[in-house]
């Protein structure tokens, strides 16, 4: 590596770090991403002097770029805002796959007895990279509803997963200590893929953001390992930065849901039976449902309305309709605010992004800590397509899977309006006591349709 290349890599590494720092603050986040992109371009350009192209090598590099750039760019541009989490999963998965392929390719060059300093990181990169690839694809399938969002479990699952992990360790040890041949590292790659699938299947769809964040950290580590294999500083620094920050971020995300990471990853085993305890008491109780006109009147003559958006709003693409409703209410002098739960939707910040798209003023979006005391003074809490984030079971019922999760105090408002498609429980699969509260009125239907009806009815009121 020449001095010039090494210095350029150093510049790229500094830009990555600066980019990450700026990404951590709302004011500078966008610039941070752009700074990191500049670092990436510098790292790629600096690599050119290291390349000794064969004719075929030149051809596949150019063809690969020509195929990859439009797929990445168009995929990222076209994806709907609601589908962004699974898109991130997809982009993460292909990165993990690339890291594994790079390690396989290098092992092929190294003959049957590579030095430990190559063999060890290669094995690491192959296993972690393929777990990340396959796991991300399952996460994608769950979020895209190609697979059910509920945990997929079967008897003996932990034993199967344990056996898979053991087989991987055995192959890895053999490769490092005895001989490195395709007969060993191809099965290693395949077992890594199988483990990735087996690992993510039992995790519920609502926990996918945390899983994607963890697989993101995995890919970072696989990339760093590939950096050791190739002796490339840029890969080591960038991959390790992502591995470390991604690990911390994963912890922050599970903290925001009021759960431990272990509970997210392995919670499906054994705890699924805990649910019915909270449900038993509410069987057969009736709920009150209202017409759009009734509810419009209630809203129009309120002093203060707090809107609690959830995933149902995103699915129905009702963000513009909800803003229209808020505008109509404000015209009549009603104070309107939005209460944003940290895990409302399918990714942290989902609701902020969604409502920002509809030009909802940023100041009206209140985080949970800011708004929770205000529900007491609100006339109506209008819950649009949310459920688990206002479920009082999180406070009161220790048997519930969401027990301990911080929730929005919608139950403290004078009236609660629930806009839901049906009585079906939310993503966590548990019943919500609040639906049966005498203060609660249900408005059944698609969130967007219901909101449009409310807008029309408020105009007429």
């Amino acid at each position: 590596m020449t001095v010039a290349v090494a210095l350029a890599y150093l510049v790229a590494a500094v830009l990555f770090i600066l980019g990450l720092i700026q990404l951590s603050s709302p004011k500078s986040a966008r610039r941070g991403n752009q700074i990191a992109a500049v670092g990436m371009v510098i790292a790629l350009l600096a690599t050119i002097p290291l390349l000794h192209f064969t004719v075929a090598g030149m051809a596949i590099t150019i063809i690969g770029l020509l195929i990859g750039v439009p797929i990445g760019a168009i995929g990222a541009r076209r994806v709907k805002m609601t589908a962004i989490p699974q898109m991130v999963a997809l982009f993460n998965g292909v990165g993990g796959g690339a890291a594994a392929v790079v390690a396989v390719s290098e092992l092929l060059l190294q003959g049957s007895h590579p030095p430990f300093a190559v063999a060890f990181p290669s094995v690491f990169s192959i296993v972690i990279g393929s777990v990340s690839f396959a796991g991300s694809m399952v996460a994608f399938a769950k979020l895209q509803a190609l697979l059910t969002g509920t945990p997929i479990t079967y008897p003996g699952q932990q034993i199967v997963n344990g056996a898979l992990a053991l087989a991987i360790v055995a192959l890895a040890v053999y490769l490092i200590a005895v001989a490195s041949t395709p007969i060993i590292f191809v099965p290693l790659l395949i077992l890594g893929l199988v483990l990735g699938v087996a690992f993510v299947l039992p995790i519920g769809g609502a926990d996918m953001p945390v899983v994607i964040s963890m697989l993101n950290a995995f890919t970072g580590l696989a990339v760093a390992a590939s950096g050791f294999v190739l002796g490339n500083f840029a890969l080591i620094v960038a991959g390790t930065l992502v591995g470390a920050s991604g690990t911390l971020l994963t912890k922050l995300m599970s903290d925001a849901m009021g759960r431990s990471l272990a509970n997210v990853l392995f919670g499906a085993f054994g705890t699924v039976t805990a649910g019915p305890a909270g449900v038993a008491g509410v069987e057969g109780r009736s709920v009150r449902s209202g017409s759009p006109e009734d509810i419009a009147t209630l809203l129009a003559y309120s002093r203060k309305v707090i809107i609690v958006p959830g995933y149902g709003l995103a699915v129905a693409q009702g963000q513009h309709a909800v803003r229209e409703l808020a505008d109509e209410l404000e015209k009549r002098g009603v104070e309107v605010e939005y209460a944003i739960h940290p895990v409302a939707g399918r990714m942290p910040g989902h609701m902020n992004v969604l409502l920002a798209e509809a030009n909802v003023p940023y100041e009206q979006l209140k985080e949970m800590d800011q708004i929770n005391d205000e529900f007491k003074s609100a006339d109506v809490a209008l819950v649009v397509g949310a459920n688990d984030v206002v479920n009082p079971a999180a406070r009161s019922s220790p048997g519930s899977p969401i027990y301990g999760m911080p929730i929005l105090n919608a139950d403290e408002a004078k009236n609660i309006v629930f806009m839901k498609r049906s009585m079906r429980p939310g993503f966590a699969g548990i019943d919500n006591e609040l639906l049966y509260d005498p203060k609660t009125v249900m408005l059944f239907g698609d969130a967007k349709d219901s909101l449009m009806k409310l807008v029309a009815a408020v105009k007429a009121a």
Binding site: I17, L20, L23, S25, K27, A29, R30, N33, Q34, M40, L50, H52, T54, G57, I60, T61, G64, I67, G68, V69, I71, G72, R77, V79, V88, F91, N92, V94, G95, G97, A98, V102, L108, A117, P209, G220, V223, A224, S226, F228, L230, G231, A234, L235, T240, L241, V242, G243, A244, S245, G246, L248, L249, M253, A256, P348, G349, Y362, E363, E367
Partner: protein, 113 residues
């Protein structure tokens, strides 16, 4: 342990600490953009993909090199663009007290690659 490997290991350990340090305080709304931004950064694997693709000779190497370059390119380009799209949503809607050039039209970002 060779000197080169020792250097690499030093960098690795220091980078772990920096990685932990830089994002210790992140507001919840930035969790997803940050995840997506770090996702783009590990697209640096494109450097490794091109390094192995460049010297490809036999058919197996050619296939592996091509697959690696395609996958890594999708990671890096898609990663940065989708992160920018998320953050674009926040831009200009924040309280005008910030001295950011508020009315600036959303500029088209460059896609590296």
């Amino acid at each position: 342990m060779s000197e080169n490997l020792l250097n690499e290991f030093t960098i690795f350990v220091l980078a772990i600490f920096i990685g932990f340090e830089v994002i210790s305080k992140v507001p919840t709304i930035l969790h997803t953009p940050l995840m997506s931004g770090t996702n783009a950064i590990h697209g640096i694997i494109l450097v490794g993909a091109i390094l192995i693709a460049a010297t490809a000779r036999d058919p197996l190497q050619i296939v592996l090199g091509l697959v690696a370059v395609i996958l890594a390119t999708i990671n890096v380009v898609g990663g940065f663009v989708v992160t920018d799209r998320m953050l674009e949503m926040f831009k200009g809607r924040q309280t005008p007290t910030q001295k950011e050039k508020t009315p600036a039209p959303p500029q088209k970002e460059k896609t590296p690659g």
